[in-house]
Amino acid sequence: MSSEQVIFYILSFWFIASSLAMIFARNAAKAVLFLVLGFFSAASIWILLEAEFLAITLILVYVGAVMVLFLFVIKMLNIDKSTLRAKFAGYLPLGLIVTLIIIAEMTLVLGGAQFGLEVMPSPAKHGADYSNITVLAMQLYTTYVYPFELAAVLLLIAIIAAITLVHKKEINRKKQSISEQVNVSAKDRIRVVSIASPSKENK
């Protein structure tokens, strides 16, 4: 058993264990933390597959942004823990049966006879001068430049949609109204008050 296999099986164990802990967790915040552990294991497996850029992206974007967003929402929403897991047992047997059947089928289809090392030999490892980011960037900015720009537009739309959805009505907002400012006249703003001179009153 080579060292690569040992690393792969350790990472796979942590990935599967944290995923199972995530779906069985009673507390939503704990589930998020287990999912973070799973994402770290997944990123390590991606590094084994020489996809370094995507592994770092998974950690930075997913763990750093998306999972923190999940935690924010969980903390904001004050979820009632007592109702959690109310109908847990009812669907567990059916889910387990379906899952075991799917895993058995997938193992048969994806087993060593079709995708083993004899059929799909492992490619030679790249040297130290190989840069995964350069290769991806060359593809991304030439062949896939239009999908890349569409992805940027998609993110913009997502920002607008998310803000529009949770936007509350304006409460005491300091918004500028240009037409009111232009149409203002002097008598609206300035009030001339005639005050008796204090020096005359003293006499």
Partner: protein, 101 residues
């Protein structure tokens, strides 16, 4: 050496865990969203494994776009969740059944 089938079986197991998570979590919508994330990561692992073993970078580009779409999906999903909580006062799956016939 780790073969391609090892990676594929691992990702199918993760996929099924995400699926059974959606099956059994009938109470909390946040956990459902996290199970969807788990399924997406399993699919991405598939893409990267094939990209490595076939020597073609297009699979990694595809994973890049999937990550983008998943981030947008989470942002909008959590926004809808916040809105749902504001309107209903709860994000349990059992409460949100007004479309039930």
């Amino acid at each position: 050496m780790v073969s391609l089938s090892d990676y594929l079986i691992l990702s199918s197991i993760i996929f099924c865990i995400g699926l059974v998570g959606i099956f059994i979590n009938r109470t909390n919508i946040i956990t459902l969203l996290m199970c969807v994330e788990l399924i997406l990561v399993a699919v991405n692992t598939n893409f990267i494994a094939f990209s490595h073993f076939l020597g073609n970078e297009a699979g990694q580009i595809f994973v890049f776009f999937i990550l983008t779409v998943a981030a947008a999906e989470v942002a909008i999903g959590l926004a809808i969740l916040t809105l749902l909580f504001r309107v209903r006062g709860s994000i349990n799956v059992d409460v949100t059944n007004s479309l039930k016939g």
